[in-house]
């Protein structure tokens, strides 16, 4: 391939794009909202970090394009300065014309953040700051991976420590060692610079260590005799169970609630994964099954009116599972013949029909309309009441583990293979003798049952059900998390729900921008990594089949594949 030296204007182009991104982040309100959360006390807030990230990105892009060190640094300077100029121009415009009646985020506070609270006098500083950060970004692009990877790990660790400082401090409240550690890393309201440096160093060293010796350790583990391998696997499982059992007590009440949410969305994700990931049926009305599970439990257990029975939770859950399974099959019947994107729209229609019907006066005498069904009793077993989130978390974990086990067994079964055949090519699958009708109906039914299980637990967790809890955004949320985790991949579902459900629930600031970020993530993932963060090996190969894979990419895929099998 002929490579041409990039012209200097192309660096300005990069700078204009990243500058545009920075202005976008400011106008959409992210910068100001996020700047309320400090990463390192008195040094940097999340809002500033976000802005600096645009500078880093511009330098990195310029550096990657240039290739040679001198050109890279020069390009980084140009791109960074251009980014800074765009931001400075935005500040000048925003402080001279008041367009706050249009852009709600365009407040004086925002411009204070952008100019480092120095007003117009800070503008040269803005350009300078972006240029410097961009040069650092360009430098990163030049550095070999051996340095870049530890630096990245360190930065991620610092951000993690800073963002979750409240949570970490809560868990480090008791015990001498903990208190000492806490005093060293944190002050009352955030991460200290020395804490940040320590975190960075530890993570960087860890990253280097795992890079140096990780392969050997993994290789040794693989060459262990099967018996001791099994023993170590069981030990790991036991450890995981013990940790999960004590997790709610360690982290406290609010994070436990978040954990329950993560568990519920894992259940939903496992169900949708079965439809989208295994069988290739894109279902945007998935929330309907979640609602069916929740309403079934509500109707069967509530002591209020609308009750149709007085079951205990433990009896109501199997009923809810069966009802949502049947609903899935019934819902699947009419849409058997619809494929691809038409299927997505049809299921979206079904989901909305369900929600509107439940909301309407028509079904109000049975389902309570928009006021919903309230006062659901908490689950009780042998006199032990699961009333706190920490206790409900155990139910969620047991249910998720059970469902994940079922999903894994299904994937490796004959039925799972027929789903994958249908996903690849329905006509060919049918020609090979697969009963596509039964397979697809089972995908809808079992997927629906999984979501119904999630709905059942959701109902007792909230203690009431309202139609407003079951809108399209839940479906989109679930879709986003299985795509981020990797379609068809089971560990991917957990990774996805930790990132996409856990993070925004823990960081309230994120919640406001949740769907904005989801939208961007969906697009980005489709363009950059359609197989997801934790892909299933076959799926990754298939999605990259059309490109002639570069050797590095092939190696990476091979590594992922062998990891998955190990």
């Amino acid at each position: 391939m002929i490579t041409r030296r990039p012209r200097w204007t192309s660096y300005l182009g990069i700078g204009a794009v990243t500058g545009g991104v920075a202005v976008f982040l400011a106008l959409v309100g992210m910068v100001e909202t996020f700047s309320r959360r400090q990463i390192i006390v008195g040094v940097i807030s999340l809002g500033h970090a976000l802005l600096l990230l645009t500078g880093l990105a511009s330098g990195y892009a310029a550096g990657r394009r240039a290739g040679r060190p001198a050109a890279a640094l020069g390009g980084g300077v140009l791109a960074g300065a251009a980014t800074g100029v765009v931001v400075a121009a935005f500040v000048v415009l925003g402080t001279s014309v008041d367009f706050r009646h249009m852009f709600v985020a365009s407040s004086p506070g925002l411009y204070d953040i952008l100019t480092f609270a120095r007003g117009r006098a800070g503008l040269p500083l803005v350009v300078l700051a972006w240029t410097l950060v961009s040069v650092v970004g360009a430098g990163l692009a030049l550095l070999p991976a051996t340095i870049r990877r530890p630096a990245f790990a360190g930065a991620v660790t610092v951000i993690f420590l800073g963002l979750f400082q409240e949570l970490l401090q809560l868990t480090l409240q008791e015990g001498t060692v903990q208190t000492l550690l806490r005093g060293f890393l944190f002050t009352g309201d955030g991460l200290l610079p020395r804490g940040a440096l320590t975190g960075f160093a530890v993570a960087a060293v860890g990253s280097i260590a795992s890079w140096r010796w990780g392969a050997t350790v993994r290789g040794r583990a693989r060459s262990m005799p099967p018996r001791s391998r099994r023993i170590s696997a069981y030990t790991a499982l036991l450890l995981a169970v013990i940790i999960l059992f004590y997790l709610p007590r360690i982290v406290g009440e609010f994070p436990s609630q978040v954990l329950v949410f993560v568990g519920l969305f894992t259940l939903m994700g496992l169900g949708l994964n079965l439809e989208v990931g295994f069988a290739g049926l894109l279902d945007l009305g998935f929330v309907a099954f979640f609602a069916i599970g929740a309403y079934t439990v509500a109707l069967l257990t509530t002591p209020e009116k609308y009750a149709i029975a007085q079951f205990s939770f433990w009896l109501a859950v199997p009923v809810a599972l069966v009802v949502s399974l049947v609903a899935g099959v019934f819902f699947g019947l009419p849409i058997l013949g619809i494929r691809g994107d038409y299927l997505a729209i049809a299921t979206l229609g079904f989901g909305e029909i369900m929600r509107l019907l439940v909301l309407s006066d028509f079904l109000k005498p049975w389902l309570g309309g928009s006021r919903g069904i309230i006062n659901l009793p908490k689950p009780i077993i042998f006199g032990y009441e699961f009333k706190e989130f920490g206790q409900l978390f155990w139910i969620t974990i047991v249910a998720s583990a059970f469902i994940a086990f079922v999903a894994a067994r299904l994937r490796d079964s004959r039925l799972g293979r027929s789903w994958m055949a249908i996903r690849e090519d329905e006509d060919v699958a049918e020609a090979m003798g697969i009963n596509t009708v039964t397979s697809k109906l089972l995908a809808y039914g079992i997927g629906g049952a999984f979501a119904g299980m999630g709905g059942a637990i959701f109902a007792v967790m909230i203690g009431s059900v309202f139609p407003h809890s079951f809108n399209l955004l839940v479906s989109i949320n679930t879709l986003a998390l299985i795509i981020v985790g990797g379609m068809g991949s089971l560990p991917g579902v957990i990774v996805g729900s930790l990132f996409l459900v856990g993070l925004p629930e823990l960081l309230r600031e994120f919640a406001e921008f949740r769907y904005l970020v989801y939208g961007a993530v969906l697009i980005l993932m489709m363009i950059v990594r359609p197989e997801g963060l934790w892909p299933e090996a076959a799926r990754a190969r298939e999605l990259h089949a059309e490109e002639a894979p570069a050797p590095a990419a092939e190696e990476a895929l091979a590594a992922v594949g062998s990891d998955g099998e190990a």
């Binding site: 976008f24 106008l27 959409v28 309100g29 992210m30 249009m102 852009f103 709600v104 985020a105 989208v276 290739g280 894109l282 945007l284 019947l333 009419p334 849409i335 058997l336 013949g337 619809i338 691809g340 994107d341 038409y342 997505a344 729209i345 049809a346 979206l348 229609g349 079904f350 909305e352 029909i353 509107l356 019907l357 909301l359 309407s360 006066d361 028509f362 109000k364 009708v437 989109i476 879709l479 986003a480 795509i483 921008f513 769907y515 904005l516 989801y518 939208g519 961007a520 993530v521 969906l522 697009i523 489709m526 363009i527 359609p530 999605l543 059309e546």
Partner: protein
Amino acid sequence: MRRSFWQRFFSPITLFLWAFRIVVILAILVGSFRTLTAGKYAGDQWIDVIVFGLSQGSIYALIALGYTMVYGILRMINFAHGEIFMSGAYTAYFVAAAFLSSGFLNRNPVVSLLVVIAVAMATSTAIALLVERIAYRPLRRAPRLVPLISAIGASFFLQYTFRGFFGAGFQAYPDWNVLKGEVVLAGIGVLRTQAVAIVGALFLMTVLYLFVMRTKTGTAMRAVSEDMEVAAMMGIDVDRIIVITFGVGAAAAGAAGVLYALVFRQVWFFMGFVPGIKAFTAAVLGGIGNIPGAMVGGIFLGLIESAGPILFLDGLGIPSPNQLKDVIAFVMLVMVLIFRPTGILGERLATKKA
């Protein structure tokens, strides 16, 4: 194993689908019969309902053009089209509000309305081109689910961008004084805003139809939708045509956004979602890829949605039937997709490609 016609006819699934069809048709017939015999609604009310249906139907039709043209060329549902519609209407709202506060709005109603519509069309086009460039173009050769998911992402990204920019609340669209009240046409009183929406939408649809059928670019668009590769071999710049298609469809959607805001008199960030899906329904109803079909489908859907609640549902004794007007539209959507995915007028596209 070949199954005979009768075996297939009596398979449980076919029977289930027939039962579904019969239930819906019976509900429509019984409901309409009982409403009409009960005589609860007077002639005037029916006329209002029909005019309202026509006005929202012609707006749906105008949005549907974008779906139909893009689908015709790329075989993909531009899921973000509803948001493109919203973005035009919302941005133009600020122009209209500025005109209102400066007094220009009522001093020069025609010019101001045209400017507002032009701004909406320009914004929608710009955003559609951005979306195409960023979210769709890199994925043109990817498996089919991939661009659809990217489009869903674009849709939510745009919604929440506008929410972040302009706030989460509703904004009341300014009223043009000349558009207040009714105009009497052939003895029928019609709200002026609705009349403007019908006339404006019909006019724009005609322009667009002529553009596609008569101009050289339009011919190229049709050639690309017929066969992209052959069109490229004939010297047509396919990328350019795709961009133009997105742009033209978005411009129609932007204009539709202003007309919609005139009729419903408010804008908010989520306003594009439901009309978007309904317009897609209209496009499928008329046979996707078929421009006159989209117009017919849109108007048909608008009428059904507006008359349906009181015609079918009231007769069945369902309380507050107007709550369920979206249900009617969605049931139409699902029924069309199940029973006649080629649309009422039949698909203009060769079936091998769909």
